[in-house]
């Protein structure tokens, strides 16, 4: 299948999964897992920066449309897109990606991907929860939400990755 079509398919699948299923899972008041950022995580590694930002912004805005919070997810996901090149450089060190088009489990080992996921989820959740409260006065509560939500999101994203790993192309959802 065409790579662009795969990205579009993954985008639709992740957004629907997020707004129709994950947003309705209630694990106490503090746990809010978000998996839609996997779309931004799996965009091609050498994608031009401006495309990355625009796609991140529109992904967030799509989620905002469903949750009725204009700007909230858009801001957080744009921040993630901004940090992504730095995160990849930081985690990979000297490792080069000549043969690898986009980050996925078939071509990169599990440990690399786990570190990548943890970094991305943390950056995203951190900015999201701060934007949501719009101030630092609920600092303790925000930290609690981050500490509880990040592991759950990482866990869900890794599960999704392993489920769709068997696909030889390795890029479904």
């Amino acid at each position: 299948m065409n790579r662009t079509a795969l990205h579009i398919f993954r985008f639709i699948g992740l957004v629907l999964l997020q707004v129709l299923v994950i947003n309705h899972v209630r694990l106490g008041g503090y746990v809010h897992p978000y998996i839609y950022l996997l779309f931004v995580m799996m965009l091609p590694i050498y994608m031009p920066g401006w495309q990355l930002l625009v796609l991140g912004f529109s992904t967030g805005l799509t989620i905002d449309l469903f949750t009725g919070t204009p700007g909230l997810h858009a801001g957080a996901t744009t921040f993630l897109a901004f940090c992504r090149p730095g995160i990849i450089r930081l985690i990979s060190g000297t490792q080069k990606f000549e043969s690898i088009h986009e980050p996925n489990l078939n071509q990169l080992d599990g440990v690399w991907f786990l570190r990548y996921t943890i970094a991305c989820v943390f950056v995203h959740h951190f900015s999201l929860f701060f934007l949501e409260s719009f101030s630092f006065h609920l600092f303790g509560q925000i930290m609690l939400r981050i500490v509880l939500s990040v592991p759950i999101s990482v866990f869900l994203i890794m599960i999704l990755l392993f489920i769709f790993k068997s696909n030889k192309k390795g890029v479904e959802r």
Partner: protein
């Protein structure tokens, strides 16, 4: 000019990032203000339709509970009817008193309880006569206020919203207070601005006050679970448990006040 252009090209990544973040934060800041929220049209028919499809499926799994709730409400209404039938005088009073309100039933198609600002989407909109600022109740108690309307759907600012304020009254002492969410738990809210001489007990009933143009008087709001003197000022705070269970909300009623335009024009005269 050329050097400016070169600067933009060189730093386009950072500049675009800052631009997009500013747009996000402006959108967010606008939506934080409930009254300005109406200009940002956050309710769209397409999104409403999507939620309606998904909730139709999940509704099947809750039919049992929904049926029981509606049956309980029916029983309560029948009981009310038999009480009012006893004396014609009261019937007359109640009719006279109550016909300024019309109740429009609606189904909840999407609902959140875990965010800082929670909204509910219902399957009735402009064509069904829903307008912003109408009150919304469930069979158990008050739910929120209509914030935004599209053709077939409406979004409701839930009591679980940081901007939600409702004028309430203690059933026993008749004292007034104002209800805010204030906790991050969907079951509890805080009644603030209670004069310190008011004696409150656990289990006291809290109702809507008569001064609200949104809700009719004496609707159930919740019961007091904790009274604690906070920050030693002149006013007390009480923690209440909402009568409405927001986690299992399926059917609601939107309240249309027939005298609203009259009240609004009266209020406008004072400005």
């Amino acid at each position: 000019m050329y050097s400016l252009w070169r600067f933009i090209l060189k730093h386009h990544f950072v500049i675009l990032f800052v631009l997009l973040e500013v747009v996000s934060i402006l959108l967010l800041a606008r939506s934080q203000n409930y009254h300005r929220n109406r200009m940002v049209n956050t309710t769209s028919d397409a999104v409403g339709q999507m939620y309606a499809w998904s909730s139709e499926l999940s509704d099947y799994f809750r039919l049992n509970k929904t049926n029981r709730q509606l049956a309980e409400e029916n029983a309560w209404l029948r009981q009310q009817l038999s009480i009012t039938n006893d004396t014609t005088q009261i019937t007359y009073d109640i009719l006279e008193h109550d016909t300024i309100y019309e109740y429009i039933p609606a189904r909840v198609v999407n609902n959140s309880i875990g965010q800082v600002n929670n909204y509910i989407i219902i399957d009735k909109g402009k064509v069904d006569g829903i307008e912003p600022d109408m009150g919304v109740i469930s069979s158990d108690g008050i739910v929120g206020v209509v914030a935004d309307v599209s053709r077939h759907y409406a979004s409701i600012l839930s009591l679980l919203h940081s901007n939600s304020v409702v004028g309430v009254r203690f059933k026993n002492s008749q004292e007034l207070g104002s209800l805010k969410w204030g906790t991050s738990n969907y079951r509890y809210g805080l009644v603030e601005d209670i004069p310190t001489h008011v004696i409150m007990h656990e289990g006291d009933t809290v109702l809507t006050s008569a001064y609200s143009f949104i809700y009719p008087e004496d609707l159930m709001v919740g019961t007091v679970v904790d009274t604690r003197p906070i920050n030693s000022g002149a006013l007390n705070t009480a923690k209440i448990r909402f009568a409405t269970d927001f986690a299992t909300l399926r059917y609601v009623y939107v309240i249309r006040n027939m005298h609203k335009s009259e009240l609004d024009s009266l209020k406008a005269n004072f400005r």
